[in-house]
């Protein structure tokens, strides 16, 4: 089993703590079938860019980036993250950088212990290149979804959204929600601020889909031609309807684009329904 990135440095006052949904992401992407699909999909072409939207602690992004030789079949990946919460941006950057460093350390130890070993038998021809490459985290950006990213810039997008159905959506954050750490904020104001920031991590509005809909609508813009997105949905989000809808994108527009969506992983089967699913979205 691939190692779970360390998040011991993260304060979870305002940041989503890795939970069942986060771990479903790790399990799904590192499953033999999904890793094989991704490895084949990214077997050629320039270094892939990986973006996690709403990255929180950064555990999902760090896992994929640090284990990219196994999951994507290549280490030459460039990672980016976005989050509304500045603290989450700082946390993600640290989680990813630490995970990459740890992975490199382990790889070096293994090589010293057994110089004959090939770290990834699937890429034996380029194994030497793969081992000498250290994956790079480009930047963590404080922003909503993928807003400032250029069209076609992302090859692999990961989104564990706020998916819980709620009557209303929290207001959009403003600069005042991120005061300087030195400010003299009362305890109750601090608590209120933290509760508000945490609500952004789970509150999904109508059907729990309001935020996810915005991201889905932006996929055709932000994904490259070979781009792939993984989006987590819960049962109340009606994942099967979402999958069907995505498959209908582009039809009748004359662009010749065919969008695909498949359930790549799920957890907690109850009465024939999965509690959480992860959908893979891409175009062919």
């Amino acid at each position: 089993m691939l190692p779970t990135p360390c998040t011991a440095h993260v304060s979870f006052d305002t940041i989503y703590e890795p939970a069942e949904d986060s771990y479903l992401f790790l399990d799904t992407l590192s499953s033999a079938s999904e890793s094989a699909w991704l490895t084949q999909h990214f077997a050629s072409g320039p270094s892939p860019t990986i973006l996690e939207v709403g990255s929180g602690s950064g555990v999902v992004l760090a896992f994929v980036v640090a284990n990219s030789p196994t999951i994507l079949g290549r280490a030459d990946v460039l990672s980016l993250s976005t989050d509304l919460n500045r603290a989450a941006c700082l946390a993600t950057r640290e989680t990813v950088v630490r995970a990459i460093a740890q992975q490199q350390e382990q790889q070096q130890q293994q090589q010293q212990a057994d110089p004959e070993s090939q770290p990834n038998p699937h890429t034996s021809s380029s194994a030497q290149n793969t081992t000498s490459i250290k994956s790079q985290h480009l930047s963590s950006l404080q922003t909503n979804l993928a807003t400032p990213l250029r069209p076609g810039s992302i090859d692999l997008l990961l989104f564990n959204p706020p998916y819980v159905p709620t009557d209303t959506l929290p207001r959009a954050p403003a600069p005042e929600d991120f005061p300087e750490p030195s400010s003299t904020e009362s305890r109750s104001a601090q608590f209120e601020r933290a509760s508000y920031l945490l609500s952004l991590t789970y509150a999904g509005g109508k059907d729990g889909m309001e935020i996810t809909e915005h991201l889905l609508a932006d996929l055709p813009r932000v994904l490259s031609a070979r781009g792939v997105a993984y989006v987590l949905l819960c049962a109340q989000n009606r994942p099967r309807e979402v999958v069907e809808r995505i498959r209908g994108w582009g039809t009748g527009t004359g662009t010749g684009e065919r969008w695909c969506a498949e359930i790549a992983g799920f957890s907690g089967k109850q009465a024939g329904w999965e509690k959480l699913v992860i959908v893979r979205v891409w175009r062919e």
Binding site: P46, H137, S140, Q142, T143
Partner: protein, 126 residues
Amino acid sequence: MKLLTANFLACAVKGCKASASSYPLHFKDAELELQELDYQPVFLQNIMPRIDWEGLRMIANELGFPRLPDTKPEGDTLNDETTLRDLHRLLLETHVVEGKLCCGNCGHEYMIKEGIANFLLPSHLV
């Protein structure tokens, strides 16, 4: 944030999306930091095909780096060690830790603090 990030960013303001001058964003009052990395020529060769050279040249020029070649190094020039080492330093080792990113279309300035760029917009621009 690594300098290379600028190649993937444009202005977040809705009205700027269609404007060519909303990319690249221009660094202002940038404080740079060099974080050394082991030299990885293969990685760089794999990154190059996806670089928008014009945008990179403009940014590097504005930040006062030595002038980049007029055309993107391809083929044999990508095996030239001096060229590769310069690009390695610029793209992967150069970080912007403080400063602003400015849109050439609407003039909006995005603050960079401790290497985190803030693209949150006031409500009237969303």
